[in-house]
Amino acid sequence: MDDLLQLKNVSKTFGEVTALHDVNFHVGTNEIVGLLGDNGAGKSTLVKIITGYHRPDQGGQILWKGKKLGHLSVPMARDLGIEVVYQERALADQQTLWRNIFLGRELSNRWGILDIQAMTRETKKLMSTVMGFTSSAVSPESTVGTFSGGERQGVAITRALYFEAELIILDEPTMGLSLSETKKCLEFIEGIKAAGKSCIFIDHNIFHVYPVVDRIVVLDRGTIAGQYMKNELTLDELLDRLYRVAQTGNLEQNGPATR
């Protein structure tokens, strides 16, 4: 499988705190990678490096389709086709639905004048085709702060989808969702695979991650503790090894996953 994204020797420190240490990580084309790890393992920092929000410390490299990237910024990552659905959804609660869908990427002419009609029209279309908002009480002018957890997640995912990403990163997308909303979310991840795109699925819950991913990477205390192809071990075996990571900080007893 060709690598879509590759991180080589990436570290990130915030003052005295080392959030990531010498991380080597890759995502293949049309691959779903499950990224597991406890709170503070460095998952969100890794995501923010991939999306250009944080810069890695000196020495680390980011490669996209084999090409080394210089200083990756948020707009640059988006232009490459990296979209992220953040843990905190990255929504602006007091703003309308259409403003949230086009947050930071407003449709405008060369002078920066907004094409509100087009954004409202596109949002309306997305509401019925992707988000599944059929109630007439919800409109593109509705304030996102009034939405349920699942609906908010829907907005964030739709935003990622709309801009035709090649790599979609879902940072704990099932957090705060009901069972049926979680099921929909997992179906959506399978849809990413079917559409030929790649995905990094980050979650605490192994029961959510295991069924939909191709490979599992375990991050612990800022380092890659190990990685496995899903077909190499059963869910029970994986659970067993995750307990070991919690105790020892290392999963590599049976060797890393083959590529």
Binding site: L103, S108, V130, G132, S135, A137, G150
Partner: protein
């Protein structure tokens, strides 16, 4: 494609339809307009002679713009969840910069340009201290308020100066003339700035980023919005408009006092908050601010014309502001 969330019907009480939706969207503006009309109607009833004459409106159109002008960009600063208390001093600093350039060059236009640039510089300094050094805007702008007042007092030796030279340039009629002999240009400039600010806030990418930066700066940053730049531009706009307003006041009097700007702080802030802009950021309108400024402006002459002692002014200011802001909070909760 599958929908990503369950399409659960939403209770009609949570999100209302059609007319109610419009009412919710414009509730603050509608309330403020009704409050303004009620106050005006009350004064009209109490003192019909005064409030049926052109003079009172002429006076309002001449004096309100000095703080209404600054209140417009200040609305943007409050929407991005910041505060600027330094503008009264910047009003004076702008005119002091005019004097500093005019005296050696005898060019009114160069002086005027220096005035605007001085305002821009003051705004940049605020923006830099707040955004780059991370100092809370309330603290930073209290500091720069003293700083610019100090600069003015030191450069002028605390002495006022005449500005009669401005009268011989087109700037004088441009800023203080009248359109159709009815509308003072001060008022026209305020409306023009209001329209421009409204356009940029509601129809331009910059305005979209202003709302997003104030609503949720982290989300905005994650989605690629340059929050720092947006905030710095807002502070620069306040600085430039404060200097412009200061120049306008001095030009109207053809005299510059180093204490210029004192007394405008609370009126300007009250206009912004009375206009429905939330101190929590993310919401606010230019229309609300302009109406808010005229509500603030009408109270004092209204009370005097009604035959009451001017001592009542503060009490009624306070009552109207507290009642109006409380009503806005209730409406926000009711319709959100």
């Amino acid at each position: 494609m599958n929908s990503v969330v369950d399409a659960k019907p939403v209770p009609p009480t949570a999100r209302t339809k059609g007319f109610s939706r419009l009412l919710r969207k414009w509730s603050l503006q509608i309330t403020l307009t009704i409050v303004a009309i009620l106050i005006w109607a009350f004064f009209l009833w109490r003192s019909p002679i005064t409030f049926q004459s052109y003079d009172i409106y002429n006076s309002l159109m001449l004096t309100t713009p000095f703080f209404a002008l600054v209140a417009i960009p200040l609305t943007l600063v409050v929407i991005v969840k910041e505060m600027d208390l330094s503008f009264p001093s910047v009003m004076a600093w702008g005119v002091a910069a005019y004097e500093l350039v005019y005296v050696p060059t005898h060019s009114v236009w160069l002086g005027f340009l220096a005035c605007l640039l001085a305002g821009l510089l003051a705004g940049l300094l605020n923006g830099f201290i707040i955004v780059k050094l991370g100092i809370p805007s309330l603290v930073a702008t209290i500091g720069t308020q003293y700083l610019w007042r100090g600069v003015v007092l030191v450069t002028t030796n605390g002495q006022g100066s005449g500005m009669i030279e401005v009268k011989n340039t087109i700037l004088y009629p441009l800023l203080t003339g009248k359109i159709f002999g009815i509308f003072p240009n001060e008022f026209v400039w305020t409306l023009a700035l209001g329209v421009i600010a409204w356009f940029f806030l509601n129809r331009h990418r910059f305005g979209a980023h202003v709302y997003l930066s104030g609503d949720n700066a982290d989300s905005a940053r994650l989605m690629g919005v340059n929050v720092s730049r947006t905030k710095i531009i807002c502070f620069c706009l306040v600085g430039m408009v404060a200097a412009f307003s200061g120049f306008m006041v001095s030009e109207q009097l053809l005299f510059f006092w180093p204490t210029l700007g004192d007394g405008y702080l609370l009126n300007t802030l009250a206009s912004v908050f009375l206009g429905g802009t939330s101190v929590f950021g993310g919401t606010g309108t230019i229309y609300g601010t302009i109406v808010g400024a005229f509500v603030i402006a009408i109270i004092n002459p209204g009370i005097v014309a009604a035959g009451w002692l001017a001592y009542w002014t503060q009490l009624i200011y306070g009552f109207i502001i507290v009642a109006s802001v409380a009503l806005q909070a209730v409406l926000r909760r009711r319709f959100s």
